[in-house]
Amino acid sequence: MSTPDDLPRMDRRKALQWMLTATATMAVRDPNLFAADTSPIKAKGYGPDPVMVKVYKPGDVWPLTLTEPQRRTTRALCDVIMPADETSPSASALGVPDFIDEWISSPYPAQAGDRRLVLEGLQWIDQEANTRFGKAFADLALEPQTAICSDLAAAKPQPEYKKQVSFFKRFRDLTAGGYYTTPEGMKAIGYVGNIPSGTFEGPPIEALKHVGLA
């Protein structure tokens, strides 16, 4: 069966028409694999009295729902947004894609809008990758991946990208927030607290000097 990887090179307009047709016929057979299934989540939440001290990971309370192709795209996009550098790892190395899966699989109403936005956005970005570069987004090199993202991140994006811009902005917030809430992410951003200590010494002299207080 066809996957977005098999799409022939063609212009954007034709590609979209082709995709719409293909989606309509294939969705019947395998909706999860190909089309964005944005139907509401029916799982249960953690309830009003969860064990607070337990350490949870995505998937512990409700099932994750991204398909493997969607997960590949999510991983790739997360790492374009938060790549590894000399001091800190990439988003996928910190499990951020799992968090995004947990988020869009959440049974709570506040995430329902994000579910639709993200799933449709992931589908769009794969289509866009195929249209422009003939490969799925995850199979592209960093440069074409960045080119697609830059169109959405531009100061004045093309009006036709309106919906995709909202997707990218939201996906960026989730990726960055998911990243900086991990121990490695906290270190990367410069948060060094959460360590019990016998005393509180106040700001160091260098910090006071930095703002002209010493």
Binding site: P50, K156, R172, G177, G185, I189
Partner: protein
């Protein structure tokens, strides 16, 4: 006497208390230390602060990075269970449709009540706060003045442990010498605001919070609090010695397993249980205050939530400390031939005059903080400083367009990052478009810790449009009629909110801050909705006479002399100070009076 189940209730108690939070906890503590036999009914389950609170867990260790959900409305690690503004099976209604005319009602259904998740800010009301009519010709004067309650503020502060400094400020009273614990050093942002705030008349100083910064003085405090009572002194000394001072990490809203900050269980219920004079029945939802033929309260009818059965607890006196509006609801639901409009309601004032803190906030990016040397400023799990209200001269002359005032609380710093840590980074840093890739990581390092804001909390005087009554139709899951709220801001609150916004903006700009929010023209949009500060008080206000109020200066209802209020319900107005400390001081004072009346044979 311990935590019990409904079948272990004793035939009768000296006092039956509804609620185990700040007011119920303080009342139970005071009474049991003096030998009275007391029962507390708590609607929530028992909760073990030592083993159940999540102190050092990270957001990445919670579902959805710990963000708010309908199940955990203050976030996953917040020390609240079975609690929220909307609780399944426990509805309430609003008479009005517009959001600004609605009241949102937080319920904390767990042992210790709301004391589990508050900010531990413990500011004393000042002399003006008790006499708004005398000062502004508005609202109602309380039947007590500052001097009546000052000794109880001292006692509560010594008992619970409060850090802070005495600044000798007008209407923000000093504590007596030796009462306060040392204040922690201020953080960079707090010091920076202290220096630059002077330009706009903002006086930044140490805040008062119920967090131990050093061990409590278990050798001398118990004798000061319980003179001549060796047993009470010994129990309190033991309790104080089991409390550890702050270990300078984690947000106090998560609760405190090392017992450094105040919550009702840690400070009140534990020693009260140790006296052997206290029974606590959890999962007991109070439904009605019962009366005898002479019109005296005889106890409380409750629903045992474990099996849905109904039970009754009997006492010589009844104290309602269920949270202000839950206590009001109990009174309104306790109808009889003698009190067809609800108990203690011959004045028709039960449910009237609800107030909440008048609150708005604003934040900014402070460029001076960019590139700050990395350091740990967790501190005491909440603010170390605040901006007390000092513009008394102006509003005394009526120049500001509102009575009372407000204080400012710091809202940020180099806190533990949450999921929203970078939301809005572009507008704050002046970027267009969306940052991503290496540039995002670079800007995140520059941006983090540069965000600083203030939340204002101010005076609200009672008005005729903010009240509650029983909903004529709706009942909760136990068949108990629910409350219907009415809410109305007056021009005073709206003017105050506008002043708050302008003052905070000036303060942030004096620090070089870039405020990204536009000036909101619609005043009602500036204000946090009624009830959302969770400082609601009133509904059974104390006053000088039985025609205009529900209770007297002892929080004793005029109509039923063995029925007392020990939560925020007797407050005749909201000061610009957070209410919890005053709830405890009034509860202790009420309990002393209750015991006096019992000794005199009046109850």
């Amino acid at each position: 006497m311990p935590l019990i189940t409904a079948d272990k209730l004793q035939d009768s108690y000296d006092v039956v208390i509804v609620g185990s939070g700040a007011g119920g906890g303080q009342t139970a503590y005071t009474l049991t230390m003096e030998g009275l036999k007391v029962l507390i009914l708590e609607a929530g389950r028992s909760f073990d602060v030592q083993s159940e609170v999540a102190m050092l867990q990270l957001p990445s260790q919670a579902p959805l990075r710990g963000e708010k959900t309908p199940d955990k409305q203050y976030g996953f690690h917040d020390c609240s269970i079975n609690s929220g503004w909307d609780i399944p099976g426990e509805p309430y209604t609003n008479a009005n449709k517009e959001p600004e005319d609605q009241f949102r009602w937080w319920r904390q259904r767990m042992m210790g009540g709301r004391t589990n998740h508050w900010g531990r800010i413990t500011l004393r009301n000042g002399p003006y706060d008790f006499k708004p009519r005398m000062r502004f010709d508005l609202g109602f004067d309380w039947p007590i003045g500052y001097d009546d309650i000052a000794p109880y503020y001292d006692k509560v502060e010594m008992l619970i442990g409060v850090f802070g400094t005495n600044e000798g400020l007008e209407n923000s009273p000093n504590s007596s010498p030796g009462v306060l614990q040392p204040a922690p050093k201020l953080r960079v942002g707090e010091l920076y605001a202290q220096k630059h705030g002077k330009k706009v008349g903002a006086h930044v100083t140490s805040i008062h919070r119920a967090v131990l910064t050093i061990p409590q003085d278990a050798d001398t405090l118990p004798a000061k609090l319980h003179p001549g009572n060796a047993k009470a002194q010994s129990i309190l000394a033991d309790s104080m010695r089991t409390r550890s001072p702050c270990f300078w990490a984690t947000d106090c809203h998560r609760g405190c397993a090392i017992r450094a900050n105040y919550d009702s269980q840690t400070v009140h219920l534990r020693p009260a249980l140790a006296t052997g004079n206290l029974d606590i029945l959890p999962n007991a939802m109070a439904r009605e205050v019962t009366l005898d033929k002479q019109g005296r309260a005889t106890g409380i009818t409750f629903i045992n939530k474990v099996d849905g059965s109904e039970g009754h607890a009997t006492g010589r006196a009844v104290v309602l400390a269920a949270s202000s509006q839950e206590s009001v609801r109990l009174l309104l639901n306790s109808k009889s031939n003698a009190f067809p409009q609800g108990l203690a309601n011959s004045s028709g004032k039960v449910g009237k005059y609800i107030t909440d803190s008048v609150s708005s906030s604003l934040s900014a990016h402070i460029p001076a903080f960019e590139g700050m040397p990395i350091h740990n400023e967790d501190g005491a799990g909440g603010p170390h400083a605040y901006v007390p209200w000092t513009m008394h001269a102006q509003n005394g002359k009526g120049e500001l367009g509102f009575p009372g005032g407000y204080h400012l609380e710091f809202t940020s710093g180099r806190q533990m990052p949450s999921l929203t840590v970078l939301n809005g980074i572009e507008s704050r840093l002046g970027h267009e478009g969306v940052l991503f890739g290496p540039k995002l990581k670079e800007e995140a390092r520059r941006y983090y810790g540069c965000h600083l804001g203030f939340g204002a909390q101010g005076t609200m005087l009672p008005n005729d449009g903010s009240f509650c009554e029983l909903d004529p139709e709706l009942k909760d899951q136990w068949g108990i009629p629910v409350l219907r709220f009415h809410w109305k801001w007056t021009d005073f609150e709206l003017n105050q909110a506008q002043h708050q916004q302008q003052h905070i903006r000036e303060l942030l700009e004096a620090m070089g801050g870039k405020v990204s929010a536009r000036t909101e023209k619609e005043k009602t949009k500036l204000l946090r909705q009624g009830g959302t500060v969770i400082h609601e008080v009133g509904g059974a206000i104390m006053g000088a006479d039985r025609e205009s109020s529900v209770s007297n200066q002892w929080s004793q209802t005029w109509d039923v002399k063995n029925l007392f209020m020990a939560d925020g319900a007797p407050f005749a107005s909201t000061a610009d100070k957070n209410p919890t400390l005053t709830i405890m001081a009034l509860a202790w004072r009420m309990a002393d009076h209750l015991m006096d009346e019992m000794k005199k044979g009046n109850i």
